[in-house]
């Protein structure tokens, strides 16, 4: 095992984790402020990716594609909040699960209706393709480095927004006492729509960014959604910091487990058996991590409740 290979895998894990963060941050905000479990968050991821692929196909511009992804996902989020989600805040979690599950069915089949079942492709723009030489002689794709940078910038921006801005103060106040901030004259329903659209936009951005390294297809959002749930269980509901740490932990565990567990088993087993057992265990590694966190801290690493 060389240092270069290890560093590459570390970066892969980091990139995967950062993209998970974009999903988990929206989910955890929506849960923290509105107390809503949103299964349809994966649909916004998919909508972002499809909007990006469609616009990139029509105009050839990757930046325009990203703008399209952000605005399409935010618009879909705002629309869904106004029409459906708004009616769910007072209801129990079962109703929220079912209604958002219904939204998944509608979005997924609707997309399949429009675009068909074949995957679309979104290309990495020329100025971001190719490798970059990092210190220590590591060749690493420039695009993936860009993803890490964009994700970290978004995390920083979110953190600043919540800590410093007026909207951020309202969000934190909404988490603690929604009657009180309504009594102080803040339009709480407008704030809810805004937060929901923001969460959807982040998911859409993640979908578009990842869509360029994977294929864009119906159903791409839900596996990521479930991983984001694992992240939130590990990090603690409602905590942006928990979402960031949880995402990176999950990203690293999944990527490094997939590479190194089979190698580890090869040390004392037949190669073919080791590969199959190692990869089976690697596919379960993040769930073991989740189980361990649950035993140790049932409300997650940074969860308050």
């Amino acid at each position: 095992m060389t240092f270069v290979l290890f560093a590459e895998q570390l970066l892969n894990g980091l990139q995967f984790g950062i993209m998970l963060f974009l999903m988990a941050a929206g989910l955890t905000l929506i849960f923290g402020v509105m107390g809503l479990i949103n299964l349809a968050h994966g649909s916004f991821y998919m909508i972002g990716a499809f909007a990006a692929a469609a616009v990139a196909g029509a105009t050839g511009s990757f930046l325009l594609a990203l703008v399209a992804a952000l605005s399409a996902a935010a618009a879909a989020g705002a629309l869904v909040e106004l029409l459906v989600i708004r009616r769910l805040y007072g209801k129990d979690h079962l109703d929220q699960v079912l209604a958002t599950f219904a939204l998944i069915l509608i979005f997924s089949e609707g997309t399949r209706w429009i675009y068909g079942s074949f995957p679309l492709f979104l290309n990495i723009p020329d100025y971001l393709s190719g490798p970059i030489l990092l210190p220590g002689g590591i060749q690493y794709p420039l695009y993936r480095i860009t993803l890490i940078a964009v994700g970290l910038l978004v995390a920083l921006g979110l953190g600043l927004m919540i800590a410093k801005t007026r909207i951020g103060i309202q969000i934190r106040a909404g988490e603690n006492d929604r009657e009180m901030i309504a009594a102080l004259g803040i339009d709480i329903s407008k704030l809810y729509t805004l937060i929901f659209a923001l969460g959807a936009a982040l998911a859409g951005l993640a979908g578009a960014l990842v869509g360029a390294i994977q294929s864009v297809q119906v159903g791409m959002g839900e596996p990521v959604l479930i991983l984001a749930f694992v992240v939130i269980v590990i990090g603690g509901i409602g905590s942006i910091k928990g979402a960031l740490i949880g995402s990176i932990l999950v990203g690293l565990t999944d990527t490094l487990g997939g590479v190194f567990l089979p190698q580890l088993f090869k040390l004392f087993m037949e190669a073919s058996v080791a590969t199959s057992i190692g990869s089976s265990l690697a596919s379960m590694a993040i769930y073991f991590l989740m189980g361990a966190v649950l035993v140790w801290r049932p409300t997650g690493l940074f969860g308050a409740r």
């Binding site: 079962l94 599950f101 399949r112 209706w113 596996p223 089976s280 596919s283 049932p298």
Partner: protein
């Protein structure tokens, strides 16, 4: 408002009458469709015990359905290839006998429910939903990478397993087996709901504090309910696998977990016949709308949204009104 007991009798009449008519007029496809509905209903009866009685929103019941399915798949696979399942510490042979397969399915899915329940009941509410969903995904990915038993492609079993004294390949006889098991589970559910355990569980769902005050352990009550629930859904999985003579990782998929919840909700949560009505309606929609359009899930989505937003208590709630569970 229709009397719920009368409505349940009507459903029972449909369960017996439709296959009987199909048998007489030689429509084996209808019988298979009804068997599918009955097996789904059994899986949902299992979930209804956790969800309706215990208030546990499990989005991972496909785990138990899948374990039941793979119990059948693995045992039958070894029986048809004449290889033992394990050779150490003692030899376990495969089998083609349904009762043995059912027993293994029930035991294995109870064990899984025990472990998953112990971990996820450390939390409640929205955490519980996310964790059960995540464990479902864990089994899904595990079976995909488990190449010994077909991995992503799944396992085919060429001949349906046998039941002493019956020809299980005859659709109507296999339907009979499934219906009798469903009826047994419903009877069990009825007695469970009225037993001291069921009453305590019901109370633990509504006000856990009170139950704790009188000295009962509400978490343990819920855990037992979760295990019973998993066992019944696991049995349904074994029957489903035998119906299709095929198991694959899709039996573990999160969509299936969602569908099992949908059966319960369409029919009515906590109602004895809720899961049966839900499964019948679902299979009917799947057949009728599926014939009209490939995208029939979109209509299912709108129907579900309507039921959640506007209809309280599912179909039974709309037809029979808000009654206490009593059949």
């Amino acid at each position: 408002m229709v009397n719920e007991r009368l409505f349940n009798l009507l459903i029972l009449a449909i369960l017996i009458g439709v296959p009987a008519w199909a048998y007489v007029s030689d429509e084996p496809f209808i019988i298979t469709l009804m068997t599918r509905a009955v097996v789904f209903a059994l899986a949902a009866v299992g979930l209804n015990i956790a969800l309706g009685l215990g208030g546990l929103v499990s989005l991972g019941h496909a785990v138990f359905f899948g374990i039941g399915g793979y119990a059948m798949g693995i045992l039958a696979f070894h029986a048809q290839t004449f290889t033992p399942v394990t050779e150490w510490p003692f030899v376990i042979e495969g089998t083609k006998s349904m009762p043995v397969i059912w027993l293994v399915a029930v035991v294995m899915s109870s064990l899984a429910a025990l472990v998953i329940g112990m971990l996820s009941l450390r939390t409640a509410g929205v955490y519980f939903i996310m964790i059960t969903l995540a464990f479902g995904q864990m089994f899904f990915f595990f079976t995909i990478s488990w190449s010994t038993y077909g991995g992503e492609d799944g396992l085919s079993v060429y001949v349906r397993n046998g039941f002493p004294g019956l020809n299980t390949l005859d659709p109507i006889q296999y339907f009979g087996i499934c219906l009798i098991i469903l009826m047994t589970a419903l009877t069990f559910n009825l007695f469970l709901a009225k037993s001291p355990f069921g009453l305590a569980l019901n109370a633990a769902r509504q006000t856990p504090q009170r139950v704790e005050t009188v000295g009962l352990n509400s978490t343990r009550l819920k855990l037992v309910a979760f295990v019973i629930s998993g066992a019944i859904t696991g049995l349904a999985g074994a029957l489903f696998a035998d119906l299709n003579r095929f198991v694959s990782p899709t039996m573990f998929s999160w969509q299936l977990s969602g569908e099992i919840i949908i059966f319960v909700i369409i029919g009515g949560v906590g109602r004895l016949f809720g899961p049966v009505v839900g499964a019948l309606v679902f299979v009917a929609l799947e057949h009728l709308l599926g014939g009209l359009s490939d995208y029939w899930h979109i209509y299912l989505g709108f129907l579900l949204l309507g039921i959640v937003l506007f209809g309280k208590g599912g179909l039974i709630g709309m037809i029979c009104g808000r009654e206490k569970v009593d059949a």
